[in-house]
């Protein structure tokens, strides 16, 4: 059995071997056939050709393949798999499986290392070779060196990305126009215009431009259309999605096909608003600085500021306000207005209270404001014409708002941050100048006011004096008339008037006499401060002698000059009035049988203290101050109550003091000081 089995196995084995042999010989036959076939087809092609078994061992390669890989199987065996870069291996394996499954492959790209170590990109079109039992036995392929091509592609890809970055990060807005339609835009132009890419695609350049600007570039567009111009630059406005506009420098480029036909227009848009404004603002600041140089007058300075701002900003008006410290109002001192009749100065005299309106608020808070739409701001006050946007900037000196620069425009949202910054700079620039001018004006006003006051004071003083004289004349005249008339009645009717009548006439005469004295007293009092005070040497001893002769001194009263009186430098009339009044007073109030009036003085460093004492009725303490007030008389005898007030007034005139010491029934001493003379 065993033998049978062995025999049977041996027979089968030999059968198998025979089969294998047949297969092998068939394969060899096939190979030889193919070889012959291929030899003719591939041997001479410029592309590399290679046959390898299913494990990657290269069986056959042509000259181009030898050149590509650097290996030659006639000299050495090599395996294709080993050439594939480690990075690409997984990818290659997947690919290989696919090839085995499908039986062919097209356009496979991978990188290999050549024998010399160089990296090459290769492109393979390959197929599987099957045996007659349809079993894969080998692979063949045409390999193309695409290293260079691939590099170029990569470069292009890279350049494309780079270009994309540049295009989208460019400060230039870019529009691609084909047949009058926008077909491509970058982020920048989308931002400029406020449209999305989708919204822009399909719009025409006209949609984002202003008709009014068309004349600037219509000729160039025509030339570009007919092919005589490939590029031009124009400054024009663009209309944003929200309707507002911006200025831009526009670079239009023609892209033509080989026939020179206009295929695309590439439009580069450069926002020059910022640049334009920066230059403009700098010019404005320079202009203000220049124009106020050397000016001192506040209105002239303010006018220059408002003119410059108005002209450079293209504002419809610019008003300079000054804070009036007294009235707490804002006062327009310069107003440059742009109206139908052109530019002119128009001041609205109406003051704006601090805190009222936009300007008043800015003046109060010291914070600048831009109002994009004044119609929505309740604080807005129409100055002369209703405007739509406003900018208001305080002028601040030492933390105090001294003025406001205010500008208005008919257009909404006219003013921007750059304007604000510029006006703030101008405000700072003019602060010192304006502050000085305001101070100067205030000083001038104060001087004028004090001059006016002085004139008024002099006038009213003079009027007062004149008034005193006129009144006293008008009072004195009737007294004289009355006395004349009583005198005539006494004369003419002496026969019929009895003693009682005569006595009554005497009373009339006495009263009238007292009244006349009173009038003279008032007149004297009011004329003490009169005109200039003459300054001559006055010997007080002479004055006292004079007084002794003028005033009535009864024989029981003795007037004693204790020591020789000094010689003063002063007005003799007034000094006499002074001593006369005090001495009269002393004499009049003596009730003792032996009266004594003593005149004395003590010399001090800067002044002389005089004293006049009597042994009269005395004055009780509560009256010591009151007696120097006008019309204060302590009894209603002869006294008019003016004497001591005249004394006080004269002493005051000589910058001295007067006071009294007294004991009731014992006597009184009047003291007064007179400043010593300058020489």
């Amino acid at each position: 059995m065993l033998e049978k089995n062995i025999e049977k196995s041996t027979v089968e084995l030999s059968k198998s071997i025979e089969e294998l042999r047949t297969v092998n010989s068939n394969l060899e036959k096939l190979l030889v056939e193919k070889e012959i076939q291929l030899q003719g087809v591939y041997e001479d092609i410029s592309d590399a050709y290679m046959v390898m078994d299913l494990y990657g061992n290269v069986l056959k390669m042509n000259t181009a393949a030898i050149e590509l890989f650097g290996y030659n199987i006639e000299n050495e065996e090599f395996n294709f798999r080993e050439l594939i870069r480690v990075d690409d291996f997984d990818h290659a394996l997947n690919y290989y499986m696919e090839v085995v499954e499908k039986g062919f492959c097209k356009n496979y790209k991978t990188r290999i290392n050549t024998k010399s170590g160089a990296v090459k990109w290769i492109h393979i079109n390959g197929s599987i070779i099957f045996n007659n039992k349809n079993k894969p036995i080998a692979a063949q392929g045409i390999i193309r060196d695409i290293t260079e091509t691939n590099l170029n592609m990569e470069l292009i890809e890279e350049q494309k990305t780079q270009l994309g970055i540049i295009v989208n990060n460019s400060n230039l807005g870019i529009l691609l126009i084909q047949s009058g339609q926008i077909i491509k835009t970058n982020d920048t132009i989308q931002n400029f215009l406020g449209y999305t890419e989708g919204e822009l695609n399909g719009l025409t350049p006209t949609d984002i431009s202003f008709k009014e600007d068309f004349y600037r570039y219509q000729d160039q567009l025509k030339e570009m259309e007919i092919g005589t111009l490939d590029n031009f630059v124009v400054e024009k406005r663009y209309r944003k999605k929200d309707g507002s506009m911006f200025w831009a420098r526009t670079n239009v480029n023609a892209v033509r096909n080989l026939l020179g036909e206009l295929k695309y227009k590439v439009i580069l848009v450069e926002d020059i608003v910022l640049q334009r404004e920066k230059t403009l603002m700098l010019d404005l600041i320079n202009d203000v600085a220049k124009s106020i140089l050397g000016k001192m007058d506040i209105e002239e300075i303010a006018w220059e500021i408002s003119r410059s701002i108005s002209e450079f900003l293209g504002a419809d008006d610019c008003v300079i306000y000054i804070v009036n410290k007294e009235t707490k109002d804002l006062e327009q001192i310069a107003a440059y207005r742009n109206n139908l009749e052109g530019k002119k100065q128009m001041i609205n005299k109406l003051g704006i209270p601090l805190g009222s309106g936009i300007v008043g608020t800015v003046a109060k808070t010291g914070r600048a404001e831009i109002i994009g739409d004044v119609t929505k701001d309740k604080r807005y006050i129409v100055d002369i014409v209703q405007m739509n946007s406003e900018i208001s900037v305080p002028i601040i000196s030492n933390g105090n708002v001294i003025g406001v620069i205010n500008s208005e425009h008919l257009e909404k949202n006219f003013y921007n941050k750059e304007h604000l910054r510029t006006l703030e700079n101008i405000a700072r620039l003019v602060t010192m100048k304006l502050k000085n001018a305001i101070d100067l004006r205030e000083r001038e006003r104060a001087e004028q006011l004090s001059k006016k006051l002085l004139v008024e004071l002099e006038k009213s003083n003079k009027e007062l004096k004149d008034y005193a004289h006129i009144v006293s004349h008008d009072l004195k005249s009737p007294l004289r008339s009355i006395l004349a008339l009583t005198s005539w009645i006494k004369q003419d009717y002496a026969d019929v008037i009895d003693k009682n009548g005569i006595d009554n006439f005497k009373h009339i005469e006495d009263k009238i006499e007292k009244m006349d004295n009173l009038i003279d007293g008032i007149l004297n009092y009011s004329s003490i401060g009169d005109k200039y005070i003459s300054k001559t040497k006055v010997d007080l001893n002479v004055i006292i002698d004079k007084i002794r002769k003028i005033i009535y001194i009864p024989s029981h009263i003795e007037v004693v000059i204790k020591k020789n009186l000094p010689v003063l430098f002063g007005d003799p009339t007034r000094l006499q009035q002074l001593f006369q009044n005090i001495m009269t007073n002393a004499v009049n109030y003596i009730d003792k049988p032996n009266g004594l009036v003593e005149v004395d003085f003590i010399e001090k460093e800067n002044y002389i203290e005089f004293s006049v004492s009597d042994n009269g009725i005395g004055i009780s303490k509560e009256y010591h101050k009151k007696i120097f007030e006008i019309f204060q008389s302590l009894n209603d005898g002869e006294s008019t109550g003016i004497g001591l007030s005249i004394v006080k007034k004269i002493v005051d005139l000589y910058q001295g003091k007067v006071w009294v010491e007294s004991e009731v029934n014992e006597g009184t001493t009047f003291f007064f000081t007179l400043k010593k003379n300058d020489n």
Partner: protein, 132 residues
Amino acid sequence: MKILLIEDDAIEIMKFQRTISSLGLNHEIVEARNGEEALRILKFKEKLPDIILLDLNMPRINGLEFLKILKNDKTLRVIPTIILSTSRNDTDILKCYEIGVSGYILKPLKYEDYVLRLEKVLIYWSINELYK
């Protein structure tokens, strides 16, 4: 003497008249109630007064104004003018003498004193040589 008395107050005029007659003097008195009237009299009267007695406080043209007009007139300026006034005011007195008065008499309070003063004034001017 021919005397022009310029005085607005009726009683003052009576005082002057009564003084003249009580003193038994024989002067020709011409009265003017104010400066304007005085100027009319001076312009149209053929014979000018020998002296003028002038009250300082008058309505319309006051004494000082009248004095100025008078002293600016070539013919009239030679007439001695004596002020009669209640004002003892220094400024008034100075101004009058500056313009050119021949005397400044204060009207005393009492009529008797007035008579005494006026008598002296009239006697003084009576013995003066005057330009005719």
